[in-house]
């Protein structure tokens, strides 16, 4: 019965995949355009990178399952679930270094996505790690929700490596990747990267 839920969600995913791809392409293109002025005026040590991705099928299904209380689909109600409930089927990440550039980029994008819902990623110390917004590109799709994130580059690159290593581990490591010691280490890395940026920015200010 659970297989029927999964099969139905896979079918739905592949029905919408062309639309998800179009939304990702539009988002990436629009965000590159909106950040062009910043990109062209970067100092030698500053960086800005725009990356898009389409959530893969199995990640989408797993993510949807984990949105349910108890992380479990009701096998007797396969029609209750839809991948279209996910906020990030198409996603764009804007990586910025140093953090001082975040506001500039964030403001440039907000003007084009004013009604998108903000859901920032917070660190254990309540610092905003990533500014995250989700919504619809209504001229293209009223069904596929997209998300964009403006993230300090060091944190974003760490997440990329960590995500593929820890969330898609080989079978012997499954279940261990999310253990409490690993979570604490992840927080430590994020804290250190933020401290590095703070120190780097004061170094640049003092040298100016």
């Amino acid at each position: 019965m659970l297989d029927r839920t999964i099969e139905r969600l896979r079918e739905e995913y592949f029905d919408f995949l062309p639309e998800i791809r179009r939304v990702a392409l539009k988002m990436e293109t629009e965000i590159r355009y909106l950040t062009l002025r910043t990109s062209l005026s970067l100092a030698d040590y500053e960086r800005l990178l725009v990356k898009s991705r389409v959530k893969d099928c199995e990640s989408a299904i797993k993510s949807l399952r984990r949105h349910q209380e108890g992380g479990t689909f009701d096998p007797e109600r396969p029609d209750d679930y839809s991948i279209l409930n996910l906020p990030d089927l198409a996603g764009v990440r804007v990586l910025v270094f140093p953090r001082g550039k975040l506001d500039e980029v964030d403001n440039a994008l907000r003007t084009s996505f004013p009604d998108w819902i903000s859901d920032p990623v917070l660190s254990s110390g309540n610092t905003v790690l990533a500014r995250t917004y989700s919504g619809y590109c209504r001229d293209l799709s009223g069904k596929v929700r997209a998300e964009y994130q403006v993230v300090p580059m060091l944190i974003g690159l760490f997440w990329e490596v960590e995500h593929s290593a820890m969330y898609k581990p080989p079978p012997p490591l499954k279940g261990k990747a999310d253990s409490e010691p690993m979570q604490m280490l992840r927080k430590d890395v994020e804290d250190v990267l933020l401290r590095f940026e703070t120190e780097f920015e004061s170094f640049i200010r003092d040298g100016a």
Binding site: M1, E69, G71, F73, D74, D178
Partner: protein, 94 residues
């Protein structure tokens, strides 16, 4: 910015979450990261993350202390899980 709580509120929330985690840990509850539930195989009780978030520390202590006989799994969820969900979770928790 919408969706962002004040710093003070967030700090208070984090303290409450830590206290609840400590209560569960002291009662020998493990955490299943894939299902986001706290569970104890000996007492056969499981708490959803949502239930833990939405109920007080005292309520949590009361539920932990509750004598349920331990014959079958008891699920403390905000929304009562269906029989199908219970079966699936019983299979996962062993």
């Amino acid at each position: 910015m919408a969706g962002r709580a004040t710093e003070k509120t967030q700090t208070q929330n984090l303290q409450v979450i830590k206290m609840k985690k400590d209560i569960l840990r002291a009662a020998n509850y493990g955490y299943n990261f894939d299902r986001d539930i706290y569970f104890n195989r000996k007492t056969k009780k499981a708490f959803s993350l949502e239930f833990v978030d939405d109920h007080s520390e005292d309520e949590l202590k009361r539920r932990i202390a509750e004598n349920t006989g331990g014959n079958g799994w008891i699920f403390y969820f905000n929304s009562t899980p269906s029989e199908g969900v219970k079966r699936e979770l019983e299979r996962v928790l062993g």
